[in-house]
Symmetry: C2
Subunit: 271 residues, 2 copies
């Protein structure tokens, strides 16, 4: 089963949009079995099944179908692959492929799949139990930390570029240059004020994911359509409160030097 574990590590997470909700998922399927990880951001579930489990469950769920486990695994791969290959074009509810639904209890998540195999109805159930915290660390926590650190580094590089642009602009101004179109004039970049304002915005915003709202995922631009390819998460627009606070910040920028602010403070806001 080591091959399955390695395979699962190589898979990216994608968002599965089911009729009733949406799930973050990754799967690895080989001739020897499958491994599946699923999360709704409230829990993380896992199933790893070998050929014995597959052929036994196939018998229980599909009395009229007789085939070797490898055939069932191949069919499951065909059903899941489109979802995991290009989640931007996934349509889990498309009957021509398969219908997915899931039931949840405190201790288990069952992902049901209905489709056809050689002209006969084919049913499958992935029986997932809560994932171990080592699996969660390996597949979610460490990648997310890597992502956050990389993005912090990215932000710092962009801020450095902005400071260089301001020096170039200052150079032109000192040589007596004047803009013919004054609307092109920008304010010098003040990282601290910018971050303060940004953190106010972030702290005020919410996103909806399925039926839930997660204040911790606040962001007001539409990144979710990029991050969450299925686009099931919706961002809520800036509130009037936010606009007011943003303006306050702008005034503050003019009147006084903002206190030191670091992006890492966001970690304390969120983390």
């Amino acid at each position: 089963m080591e091959e399955l574990e390695r395979g699962l590590l190589m898979q990216p997470w994608v968002w599965l949009q089911l009729a009733e909700n949406s799930l973050l998922a990754k799967a690895s399927i080989t001739k020897q079995g499958y491994a599946l990880l699923i999360s709704d951001l409230q829990q993380v579930w896992h199933e790893q099944a070998d050929t014995l489990v597959v052929s036994q469950r196939a018998k229980e769920l599909n009395k009229r179908l007789t085939a070797p486990p490898s055939a069932f695994l191949h069919h499951l791969e065909e059903l899941l692959l489109p979802l995991f290959k290009d989640s931007a074009h996934q349509d889990a509810a498309d009957p021509s492929h398969a219908t997915f639904s899931c039931d949840r209890t405190a201790e288990a998540l069952i992902l049901r799949v209905q489709s056809e195999l050689s002209g006969l109805p084919f049913n499958w159930q992935f029986h997932c139990t809560p994932a171990s915290s080592s699996l969660v660390s390996q597949h979610l926590i460490r990648p997310l930390m890597g992502m956050s650190l990389a993005l912090q580094c990215h932000g710092r590089e962009l801020a450095a570029l902005l400071r260089m642009k301001d020096l170039e602009i200052q150079g032109y101004q000192e040589s007596g240059a004047v803009l013919s179109r004054s609307r092109l004039k920008t304010e010098p970049f003040e990282e601290n004020s910018f971050l303060e304002q940004f953190m106010v915005e972030v702290s005020l915003l919410r996103i909806e994911f399925g039926q839930k709202k997660y204040p911790l995922m606040g962001t007001h631009t539409p990144p979710l359509s990029e991050v969450v390819s299925s686009g099931t998460a919706r961002t809520i627009q800036r509130s009037a409160v936010l606009k007011k606070q943003t303006n306050k910040q702008k005034t503050k920028q003019k009147n006084q030097k903002a206190p030191a602010t670091r992006l890492s403070d966001l970690f304390h806001l969120y983390f």
Copy 2:
């Protein structure tokens, strides 16, 4: 115990630097008991203890000490608070406060504390077991996703500012302005090329955390000293390979338009 759970949610994560390794941790201690979460990025551990557990364990570990559980809890709070209050100035190994060490098995993590209480030696052991995936989602996954989404949004805002700066610079140049100091001249910001180059850098870098190296946490600027206040994680410097690839990228930027790249691709790199 609900109060403890709420309390734990309000606590930020901090890095505890122990003699042998470092741990990500958060704790909440009240008169009713304590709740503790610990991670070494390989697993997440949890203990929640009420006054009964506390007084029983206190008897086992400190035969000569007799005090009500609230006194032990208060002392534990005094020992832990400095670590969680300002992890930049924490010194877990300082004998004047307390000595921390931990033992790990597959199924448990024991965090040992040695100090003094009213002139007598005081020993404590936090007996942590693997945290449930719902606790991990609540305290790590959702905050980290929120952090990543906020940082993506932050990067987009900085990129928008850079485009405005370039328009202003173009305005000066069109009015015939020339820089007296040519070293101030910058290249126009090309987001796709910048992201491509950034992702090459990130994918090549590693950070060390305790004894482990985590490629998934690649970043080459020193953000960890900000993010990981205890500064126990060390970034590895850019390799010659990286420099070479970075130059390749720069040439590429000049010779051809880079294909569309999105920050969300980083999610597939990592996630």
